[in-house]
Subunit: 150 residues, 2 copies
DNA sequence: CAACTAAGTTGATTTTTTTAACTTAGTATA
DNA sequence: TATACTAAGTTAAAAAAATCAACTTAGTTG
C-alpha cells in the first residue's frame, strides 16, 4: 500500500496499515481462529479471492500476519497473527463496544465471566497501578513532550 | 453508504458506518476541535472537497455528526460530534496506542497527567467496580447469550 | 483416470477516490 | 462600485481500487 494518508498522526499512520477495506475484518477473523485461505474466504462473506490474497500479502509484509506450513504434502499454509497483529485486540473491542452501544442491531457483547455484567474500556496507569479517567490523560507529542491535540 | 459488509458482526456493521476511507480521520479531526469545512479540509491534507462533503453528509445522516449555525450572515455552519460520535474516542485511542507500540515513527502518546507515565487500555467491570483481565471476559451473542467467537 | 479441493491468479467490469476547475453568496478593499 | 477574496461547497473527467467471474495448478480421493 502506498502511504495514503500523509498526516503526522498515529491514527492516520496506523490506518495506512490496517485501514483499507476488509483489512481489519480479515485480521479479526484470523484472531478468532479462521486460519486457512478458504476458511477466511468462507467466513468473510462477500470478499473476493484476489482481494483476500492481496491483503494477506500486504499484512505479511507489514508484519501483522505470518504464514506457517501445516502440512508438507500437499503444502498447506495457515495464517496467524504476529504479536503486533494480536495487539489490535483493543481496536476490535473498541469497535465492538461502539457497536453494542449504537448499532440498530447488536450482535455481540462482552461480559465479565464472573458476574456476567457488560464490561467497558478504561484507561490504566501501570505506574500508579490504577484506572485513570480520560480527563486525567494528556495526549502529547512523542518527540517534544509538548501538549498536542492530534 | 450501502451496507458493504453483510457479516452479522458488530465490528463489520460498525465499519459499515465509519470504515470508509477518511471517515475516522474526519471524525477525529472534529473531535479535536476542527469544526468548519475549510478547517477540516486544511487539516486533513490530501482530502478532496467533494469527498469531505460526501462524508460529512453521510455522518450526519448516520447521527455521528451534527451541524450548527454559528453566524447568520453569511450563514456559516460548524460540524460537531454527537454523543455517538464522541463515543468513538476509545477507537481512536486504541489506534493511537497501537501506533505508539508498533509504528516506525510514533507521533503521539498518552500519559497520566499526575505521573507522566504512559497509560494502557484496560477492561473495567462497572458491577464489580474493578479492572478485569481480557481472559476474564466472554464475548457472547447479544441475542442468545451463547458463547460466540465472532 | 475423472472428479474434487485448496489456494490462489487473471482479466473485465463496476465503484470509489482523486484531481482540477467551477459556482455561489457574502465581505473587504481600492 | 468594480475587484478581489473567502467559505463552503458542486461538477465532471481521470485514475485507482474493489468486485465478479472464469481459469490455473498441484495434489487427493473414488
Amino acid at each position: 500500500m502506498k502511504e495514503r494518508y500523509k498526516l503526522p498522526c498515529n491514527i492516520a499512520q496506523t490506518l495506512n496499515i490496517v485501514g483499507d477495506r476488509w483489512t481489519l475484518l480479515i485480521l479479526h477473523d484470523i484472531l478468532i481462529g479462521h486460519q486457512t485461505f478458504n476458511e477466511l474466504k468462507k467466513n468473510l462473506e462477500g470478499i473476493s479471492a484476489n482481494l483476500l490474497s492481496d491483503r494477506l500479502k500486504h499484512l505479511e509484509k507489514a508484519g501483522l500476519v505470518e504464514t506457517e506450513v501445516y502440512t508438507k504434502h500437499p503444502p498447506r499454509y495457515q495464517y496467524k497473527l504476529t504479536e503486533s497483529g494480536r495487539d489490535l485486540e483493543p481496536v476490535f473491542d473498541a469497535l465492538l463496544l461502539w457497536g453494542r452501544d449504537h448499532l440498530d442491531h447488536c450482535y455481540k457483547k462482552m461480559v465479565h465471566s464472573d458476574c456476567q455484567h457488560e464490561v467497558e474500556l478504561s484507561y490504566y496507569c501501570p505506574s500508579c497501578k490504577k484506572t485513570v479517567d480520560k480527563s486525567e490523560i494528556d495526549t502529547v507529542s512523542a518527540v517534544t513532550s509538548d501538549l498536542y491535540t492530534r
